[in-house]
Symmetry: C2
C-alpha cells in the first residue's frame, strides 16, 4: 500500500530537515549556540517534535558529525588514485589540514567534542573508519615499496594520525598562542615535512 510508504518517506524527510537545519546552524554559530529550541524555531515546529525523530541532542549531533566524516571521505577517496603512496601520503596530510581549517566546527565535532561520542554506548564507532583505513593502507603501501622505513603498521598509523591531529586540535582550541596566528600554516607545513622526511627510507 502507498500510504504507509508515503508516511515513511515523510518521516525521513522530516528527520533530514531537522538534521540539515541543525548542521547549518551548527556550522554557522557553533555547537554551544545551537539549541534544540533554536532549531525548532527555525523549522517552525515545537522543540518537543525533535524528540520524535532523535533520542536527544547528542544523537542529533552524532548524525551531524557523521556528515562531517562523509565530507572528509569525499575529499580523501579521490587521492587513492595517486599511484605513488608516498606522494599520496603527503597529499593526504595537505587535504586533511585544508579540511580542518576550512571546516573547524566539523573537525571539532568529529575529533574533539564529547557530545557525539556520548550518543555511542557500544564500542563500534564506524564513522572515522573509512578515512583511517585509507591512511593505514597508504602507509602500508609505502612500507611495502620501501618508501618509508619499515615499522609496526599499527604503531606508525597511530603516530601519523596523532601527530597531525595534535597540530590541528591545538590550533583549533587556541593552544598555540605562543606563535602569531599567521605563522601557523607555514609552521605546520614544515612540521609535517619534517616528520615525513624522518620516516622516509
Amino acid at each position: 500500500m502507498g500510504i504507509s510508504e508515503r508516511k515513511e518517506r515523510e518521516k525521513q524527510e522530516m528527520k533530514s530537515l531537522i538534521l540539515e537545519t541543525a548542521t547549518q546552524m551548527f556550522l554557522e554559530h557553533g555547537f554551544e549556540k545551537t539549541s534544540l529550541r533554536n532549531i525548532a524555531e527555525k523549522i517552525e515546529y515545537s522543540p518537543a517534535t525533535i524528540y520524535l525523530y532523535y533520542k536527544d541532542k547528542n544523537q542529533l549531533f552524532y548524525d551531524v558529525h557523521e556528515k562531517g566524516f562523509e565530507l572528509l571521505a569525499e575529499k580523501m577517496t579521490p587521492l587513492m588514485q595517486i599511484e605513488n603512496p608516498l606522494e599520496r601520503l603527503y597529499k593526504m596530510g595537505e587535504i586533511y589540514l585544508d579540511f580542518a581549517f576550512h571546516n573547524p566546527e566539523y573537525y571539532d565535532l568529529m575529533f574533539i567534542m564529547t557530545a557525539p561520542m556520548e550518543a555511542l554506548h557500544d564500542d563500534n564507532w564506524d564513522c572515522g573508519f573509512a578515512n583511517y583505513e585509507m591512511l593505514r593502507q597508504t602507509i602500508a603501501e609505502c612500507m611495502e615499496k620501501g618508501l618509508i622505513k619499515k615499522a609496526d603498521l599499527e604503531v606508525t598509523t597511530v603516530s601519523v594520525f596523532s601527530f597531525v591531529h595534535g597540530l590541528v586540535s591545538l590550533a583549533i582550541r587556541q593552544r598555540f598562542k605562543m606563535y602569531p596566528e599567521e605563522t601557523l600554516p607555514e609552521l605546520f607545513r614544515q612540521s609535517i615535512d619534517n616528520i615525513l622526511n624522518l620516516m622516509k627510507a
Copy 2:
C-alpha cells in the same frame, strides 16, 4: 593600619576557598557537572557571591587550569636535573603521559577545553610557557650534543608536542575506539619510542 590588611587577606582567603572548592568539585565530577550554584552551595554562600571574586565562570576555570599547569611543572622541573638530554626527553614523554592519564580532567582543561581560553582576551597565555620552554630547551640540547638530527628548533618542538598531545587528546576524547582500551598504553609507548628513534641522530 592593620584592618585593611586583614580585609585584603580575608578577600584572598575567600577567593582561594572558591578556587579550591571549584578545583576539587571539577576533578571529582568534571566540568559540566560543576556549576556555580553547586560550588556556592558547598561553601554555603550565594551564587552571586562568586561574582564578587571572579568575573565569570570562565575566569574561575582559567585559574583552575592554571593550577593544573603548576602541578605539571612540579613534575617536569625535577627532570631538568637529568644530564643526558635525550634520556631527559624520553622521561619527559613518560611523565607527560602519566600526568595526562592520572589527571585527565586537568589535562582536558589545560589543553582541550575552550572555557579557560575564553577568559583570555589578550594574547598572552603564560600558563603553558614554563613547560613548553623545558621541552624546547631539552630538544635544543639534544641537537647541540648531536643526539638527535639537527632541524629547525621551533619546528621540532611543535612536532614533538603536537604528536604527544595528539595521542593523549584522542584517547581522552574517546577517538581510539578502534583499539581495545587496555592496549592503548602499550601502543602509545611504542609510538613514542618509534618517533624518538626516527629523530635520533
